[in-house]
């Protein structure tokens, strides 16, 4: 099976920062807004290089979303930056009315998503944001897996007309996708070919899925790993093609199993090709304080959990 090399752990949020820095040079319509988390979002370079296009909003996320919506009127491409929790749940109605319903070209860039935010605990660890965002008509929802892909996605969404939710995280994780790779919104990436089980993963769980596939391979189970970086619009064709071959699926995400990638996959399967599915996700719970690794283990969000889920789903075929 195809192997992937970690070229060195890096945080996905730095991929966002690097992408934004590049956009600062290449697209004069790009403006950046931040709600007092410039350092955490890695927006410092953009701020330094383009002070006239950087807007420090203060701790006022609702106002930030509204200002971003307004800036599109005049042709700007606003990128808002704050934690995922404050990017979504806190400002849902602002996004719904001023951005999504109004069809504004705002890029909502959200760091520190999921339990891997770590020690700050559940107040900051949103596990519902994919659901919130994917339910909004017209919203594109992206959850990237590593530094390189986050940088590529940041560049790609600037060229895409329409509201986007870009989700990434805090910890340093394996960086394994190609440097300067092309990011195609809405297009699944098949990472390994397999015949027994399809593993559909997003975000930090993609690397875990690859580790799981290796472990499964050693046990004689052939796993096909698909990286779904775009949860909406979902690449249903790629998913169905794989599941028709393998006959079962495991979905893996750092998100509640209610409303996440898993449910989007379930709907696709139920409508087209019903097949057994297991969910690697949080099970309708809040997170808590701890290190990212401890939390991934406790909440069943790692390679080991994916292996177990794969073995379980294989028995249900």
């Amino acid at each position: 099976m195809k192997k992937y090399t970690n070229t060195g752990n890096k945080d996905t949020r730095s991929g966002f920062g690097a992408g934004l820095t590049e956009l600062g040079k290449t697209n004069e319509n790009v403006v950046a807004l931040c709600a007092d988390l410039t350092g955490s979002l890695k927006m410092d370079d953009f701020k330094k290089n383009h002070p006239e296009r950087f807007f420090q909003i203060g701790i006022a996320e609702a106002n930030m979303i509204g200002i971003a919506a307004g800036m599109t009127i005049g042709g700007k491409i606003p990128f808002t930056g704050t934690f995922a929790n404050f990017s979504t749940g806190r400002v849902y109605d602002q996004i719904r009315q001023s951005v999504a319903y109004s069809g504004k070209n705002v890029k909502i860039c959200a760091s520190h998503a999921g339990v891997t935010l770590g020690e700050d605990g559940a107040t900051h660890q949103i596990l519902e944001d994919i659901g919130l965002m994917k339910m909004l008509p017209g919203m594109t929802v992206i959850n990237t897996c590593d530094y390189n892909q986050t940088k590529a996605a940041t560049l790609a969404i600037a060229d895409f007309e329409g509201p986007v939710y870009l989700r990434f995280g805090r910890p340093k994780v394996a960086n394994f996708t190609p440097e300067n790779g092309k990011f195609e919104i809405g297009k699944a990436v098949n990472l390994t070919e397999g015949t027994d089980v399809t593993i559909i993963a997003t975000g930090h769980l993609v690397w875990e899925a690859l580790q799981a596939a290796e472990q499964l391979n050693e046990k004689g189970i052939s796993a096909e790993v698909i990286n779904i970086h775009t949860i909406k619009p979902l690449d249903e064709k790629a998913i169905l093609a794989s599941v028709k071959k393998t006959g079962c699926v495991v979905t893996a995400e750092e998100h509640n199993f209610l409303g996440g990638l898993g449910e989007s996959v379930s709907r696709t399967l139920v409508e087209n090709f019903p097949a057994p599915q297991e969910f690697v996700a949080t099970k309708d719970t809040f997170g808590e304080s701890g290190t990212p690794e401890q939390l991934m283990e406790k909440y069943g969000l790692n390679a080991e959990a994916i292996v177990k889920a794969s073995e379980k789903v294989l028995k249900r075929k």
């Binding site: 509204g66 971003a68 919506a69 599109t72 042709g75 009315q97």
Partner: protein, 281 residues
């Protein structure tokens, strides 16, 4: 430029349009709409410099955002009679498949609308963004807004009010419709907001008052005064006192017509008080 009599005739026709729109579908918000007929007429017939061909980006023209979207009937009437879309389309207000949704939206592509509003408290932030974009684009035109007084109970406004002063958004004129009424009663009964002038000034805004918000000449005077105060490092606020339901005696000075349409008899009475001037749609 129209004279005062012509503007008053325009206002009267707008009042008829408001009443007829809400009566036809037995829904909508006549009270606040009637109270702001002079304000919208002043903006679109006298004060704002805008292009007749609608362009979403609004570069090189003044733009307006309605934050309290429920007074859509007055907005639609004035937009239609200012040439944004056919006046006959007012017939479709709140009907299925209409561009004239209950609350204004960009979703159906109605010319003149640049943001959806209805969920309250969001318009000022949007206007600030548009004003920032104008500065980036070196566009010296202005951004105007209208807000309800009850709407100021929404906290997002105060985030925006703080930001606008702190960042010297001085190409922005925000008007507040002080009619003292909201759905559940007077603003003083529901949630007293204290001295709004002192509040805006404490946040760093340049505030002027229009005490006769239903006198077209006074509204124009106030808006022109506000214009003259732009570009001086402070956002400008107009606290404009109006009478909810103005122009229809039985609708005035009460919150009861906030969101209630007149019946046939009441419509007849109300229209008699506002005779046709520019021609009904």
């Amino acid at each position: 430029m129209p004279n005062t009599k012509e503007l008053e005739n325009f206002v009267t026709q707008v009042r008829r349009d408001i009443l007829r729109q809400v009566h036809k579908v037995n829904s909508g918000h006549p009270g606040g709409s009637l109270g702001c007929a002079e304000f919208f007429t002043a903006l679109y017939q006298e004060v704002m410099d805008y292009n007749s061909d609608f362009d979403m980006n609004g570069i090189g023209e003044d733009i307006f955002f309605l934050s309290n979207g429920h007074i859509s009937p007055v907005f639609y009437s004035v937009l239609a009679r200012s040439g944004y879309f056919p006046v006959e389309e007012l017939n479709t207000f709140r009907l299925i498949n209409s561009r004239l949704q209950g609350h204004p939206t960009t979703h159906e592509g109605l010319p003149g609308i640049r943001i959806a509003s209805g969920s309250l408290g969001q318009g000022l932030s949007v206007a600030i963004g548009a004003a920032e974009a104008k500065k980036l684009n070196k566009d010296s035109h202005l951004v105007y807004t209208l807000h309800g007084d009850g709407e100021l109970q929404e906290g997002q406004n105060w985030e925006a009010i703080m930001y606008a002063a702190g960042n010297k958004i001085d190409n922005l004129i925000a008007s507040v419709d002080l009619n003292g009424q909201q759905i559940d009663g007077s603003t003083d009964q529901v949630l007293p907001m204290g001295n709004l002038k002192a509040k805006f000034e404490a946040f760093g805004w340049d505030v002027l008052e229009v005490k006769e918000g239903n006198n077209i000449s006074k509204v124009i005077e106030g808006l022109n005064e506000a214009k003259s105060r732009t570009g001086k490092g402070k956002p400008v606020c107009i606290l404009m006192t109006t009478v909810m339901g103005h122009g229809v005696d039985f609708m005035m000075h009460t919150h009861k017509w906030h969101g209630v349409a007149p019946n046939d008899e009441q419509l007849e009475n109300a229209l008699a008080q506002n005779p046709e001037t520019l021609g009904d749609y």
